[in-house]
Subunit: 244 residues, 4 copies
């Protein structure tokens, strides 16, 4: 896949490497697209930058549902929990597989549980597009599965699901000592349910509750200001818990 | 290494796995530390949670200089640039090696350039502690080295250095088509220098200028409020540039 | 004027106190509107809360241009500069008169300069609606007028105009000793121009550069989260300068 | 009172207009302080800017308790509720009188209720310093007093007290139709109590829950960045309620 950026409009186009490309800014010939030139023109004279698509660009093509976990949150979850290429991650639910794909590109193995059939299909489609093969996607409820996982095998348990506090009440011996559980919760009342459960357990320690805010800036010539069109957005609160 | 958290004070202690442990909250016997119990007591009756140290815990022990790149920024840089375990990262400067260690735990190879001898030593010490062997640390100026790198070999060029705009003016054919350059800059005037350089180049495209803000929350019983003691902190602006 | 809030849609309607009221949620009879009941119904059964319009409600009816100074900024300007009902405020430009009306409702006298005819008309219309009579609105350039003001007569000089740094270079003996000048500037490059001018003057002292951010929250039953529909918005930076 | 700012350290000093002034940056002679010069020197050669204290400067000298309502919040409360020099404000508790002084400088009359003797004394001291005479300060519980206020006499009811939701359950006929009640609450759980009460009342309408965040910026020469020393701080959430 190649990415084309129109110099005039700033719009991104994605070329699938076959034939001429038609878009609302004109027709671009296959020979130009495959010329290796980094600047090419459409038949109506529009200028395009061309470069090879990276994993980041593929990720923007994911099929996703209405609630999308964002890169700002995924990045911080990974960095804050110290996950790396040797890690084993278990998650629930799979949702559209956005977090699944992100973790799978980085860690050793991912096991992802999801109760909804339709989500499983979307998630599998996105995993296939990214050619990720280190993921086991299961149509099952993590509440029934987590106690079946191998003892001390999990480095990160990532929970992006309603009522995730019920999972915390299970026997979590499948998590390594010191491993992280990260809950991704849209509202403070859910945090309150989580903290209530944890306060009654000696096997879990609440380490951090935080929120990642991304602010876009626009700078050109001598002007610098926050970008009005892409303003700060709340997505969810992150709860970092340690397995004792 | 084991982590001990005092139930009373919330202080974290790090036990190096030899002998009894003395701290200001009393003496903890080696046999208790090695008992496998997750809750143990000091001789003055303080209660401690005990668990195995994770990579995250080691990273909190890094020797660092005054300006420390944070996990919120590292996480977003990784997620936004789509870097994964197959990626090759080049960075400058190494600084204390905090970013170096983070990338090395995740990607295939890291090459890190640093002009200061003292920084090289600190960075190497931190890499050794994390047992990371996929990093080449070079005492050299990236301005002189970047054009010597192999053609189209780099997935991410990470610049955390003064005057990083000079690097952008070099011939960057060592970067893959579509690869990311991320500049980590504390002030807006540096962004202005970067945008000035990019506006004169057809080989680079400025994709995003952003700032990651982390807000800590405190929730207990029915109370939820932002945490006064760990407030929102500006670290730096992030500039995401694409190689065309 | 009366305010009607639809219980179903949350939409605000404004009734001008004459005849029946027609809106997309039905017809409401004059006798109901004037009944003094705080809950009334339209002919299609929609429930409305009714109360008398306050100055706040009138201010939401202002005719305004595209760039509107917000209440969060006006409030902080007033509170931070210690302006009260004894104060004299001079401002430029008048714009749509939003700041003018705000200050005039609170302080003793306002003098407002504006170079554009069309703005003067809009501002005067808004002042008339609010029945404010302590304002002198002048179609003139403050750069030419500020030195004609009476000596030590001004408590606050508020500048919401392009190139406001030129005003700072004038002889500002019309400001009281210790009086505030507040510049309302959308971009950081304008702050840079202002700081450059001030650094060359002994008669001005830069006390604070800040930005007021308003975050809306949504709380119902047990759910609390930031409001997605009304997110944090950058409007402008505020520069607080003291006259020495 | 005169304000002195040291050019070297940026420290503010307050001169009470009698005799020479001694500070850690040297001795400044009365004749220099009263010369009318805006730049004077201490006996050790330190340079000071001198200007007359404004109400703002006096307000920085308030005696206050640990929890201080800030200017960013006071300003927004005033601007958002449309209060002006004709308004009548009732508040509870008085606390240190910071909000009391702020409102009293602007509105027609303030009535302030406070249950604690010690707070009353501090508040009265601050009111005296500001020479404000349009305030009635009462050592009483607003829960018992609010129903005794004159019918439709109040434009703003400001509640900065624990359990302020109990006041909302009282008969609030002393508020004008459309008048604002503003609750200043540090935690989200208190908002939940407020919303629960309001959901059961037809006489109150919840219009906005928001949080004002102030971000300080540092700009010099070509450098612009958020100010690390004075970072963003949470104070409280603001709840804006309309009397129907």
């Amino acid at each position: 896949m190649k990415v084309l950026i129109s110099r005039k409009t700033g719009i991104y186009y994605y070329y699938m490497e076959e034939g001429d490309y038609h878009c609302k800014e004109g027709l671009i010939k296959e020979e130009d697209l495959k010329s290796g030139n980094s600047v090419i023109f459409s038949n109506i004279g529009r200028e395009f930058l061309v470069f090879n698509a990276r994993d980041y660009d593929y990720s923007t093509k994911f099929k996703v549902g209405p609630q999308l976990i964002t890169k700002k949150d995924l990045g911080y979850i990974l960095a804050r929990s110290g996950i790396n290429k040797k890690s084993v991650v278990v998650e629930a639910g799979s949702g559209s597989g956005v977090a699944t794909c992100f973790f799978a590109g980085i860690v050793d193995k991912v096991r992802s549980f999801e109760v909804r059939d339709d989500h499983i299909k979307v998630a599998q489609g996105n995993l296939d597009m990214m050619k990720l093969t280190n993921v086991v996607l299961e149509n099952a409820d993590i509440n029934e599965q987590i106690e079946k996982e191998e003892k001390e095998s999990i480095d990160l348990l990532f929970l992006d699901m309603p009522d995730c506090h019920t999972v915390l009440e299970k026997n979590l011996y499948a998590l390594k000592s010191g491993a992280f559980i990260v809950c991704y919760v849209p509202s403070i009342s859910q945090i309150q349910e989580i903290t209530k459960v944890i306060s009654q357990l000696e096997s879990l320690y609440l380490e951090e509750i935080s929120e990642v805010i991304l602010r876009h800036w626009r700078v050109w010539e001598k002007v610098a200001r926050p970008n009005h069109r892409k303003e700060i957005d709340h997505t969810a609160f992150l709860v970092f818990i340690r397995k004792i």
